[in-house]
């Protein structure tokens, strides 16, 4: 049996969290899902600041673009320079139709982007590919 993939979902919308959870179940992948609800919490989690002092570096980050406090671009800007976060795969989740949003995120270091609503099969393939290539 393959090990569980540690996924950090950064998402402010409870409805989108629920959709992502369902997509993970549909994907049939063994996942430990951790959820934070805004960009500031994501940065604290990924830099192991309180209350996330003991948080392990996730195997993959699913990062919403539009969030309160700090948006996805700001989070990327903040964390990609951290030593433990340079190579962690980050996938942008967006409902935006703007190519500029995605291009800016690519320039800030995302590895892929998924259009919302997240779908189970696509997410499953992505998680499996990341698991086999990064770990």
């Amino acid at each position: 049996m393959s090990r569980f993939i540690e996924v950090l979902l950064v998402e402010d919308s409870p409805a989108d969290v629920r959709i992502a959870e369902e997509a993970i179940v549909d994907a049939g992948v063994n996942v430990n899902l951790h959820v934070v609800n805004d960009g500031e919490a994501a940065v604290r989690y990924l830099t192991q600041q309180a209350p996330y002092d003991n948080a392990a570096t996730p195997d993959i980050v699913l990062l919403d673009l539009n969030m309160p406090k700090m948006n996805g671009h700001d989070v990327l800007d903040e964390i990609r320079n951290q030593n433990n976060m340079k190579e962690v795969p980050i996938v942008l989740l967006t409902a935006s139709e703007s190519c500029d949003d995605v291009e800016k995120a690519h320039n800030l270091g995302i590895n892929y982007y998924l259009r919302k609503p997240v779908q189970g099969p696509g997410l499953g393939q992505l998680l499996n590919a990341v698991q086999s290539l990064w770990h």
């Binding site: 270091g109 696509g122 992505l126 290539l133």
Partner: protein
């Protein structure tokens, strides 16, 4: 969705992941890595010996290909590899000059045209 192919072409894919992908056995994935402008020299060196000429041609025309790799591939047995290099205006002059005298007339003609285009541009 072929994520191996997608990651192979991404400028944000870490080097160690590209190394794994380079030996994954899928031709289109190796070709995509060979085209990736962020692929490091050691991986390009590995792919320069690929059995498939399209992969070798992509390495040869990648601006990050090491000089010694460019030299070797400019003498590749496959004329399509040499032709790809002859089309490429960022090739060193001496490589284009050698290709302009290639035994294959199409390669030679293409290299002469590229040299001419480069000279015209430099004159402007």
């Amino acid at each position: 969705m072929d994520f191996y192919y997608i990651f192979a072409g991404s400028p944000n894919t870490p080097q160690r992941v590209l190394s794994r992908l380079a030996v994954c056995g899928q031709l289109k994935v190796r070709g995509r890595i060979a085209e990736n402008k962020e692929t490091p020299a050691d991986i390009l060196q590995l792919l320069a010996g690929d059995e498939n000429w399209e992969v070798r041609a992509s390495v040869a025309t990648n601006p990050r290909a090491p000089q010694e790799v460019v030299e070797i591939l400019s003498r590749d047995e496959n004329a399509d590899v040499r032709y790809s290099m002859a089309e490429c205006d960022h090739m060193p002059f001496h490589v284009l000059d050698r290709l302009a005298q290639d035994e294959n007339p199409y390669v030679a003609e293409r290299a002469r045209n590229t040299l001419e285009e480069v000279f015209v541009r430099l004159a402007i």
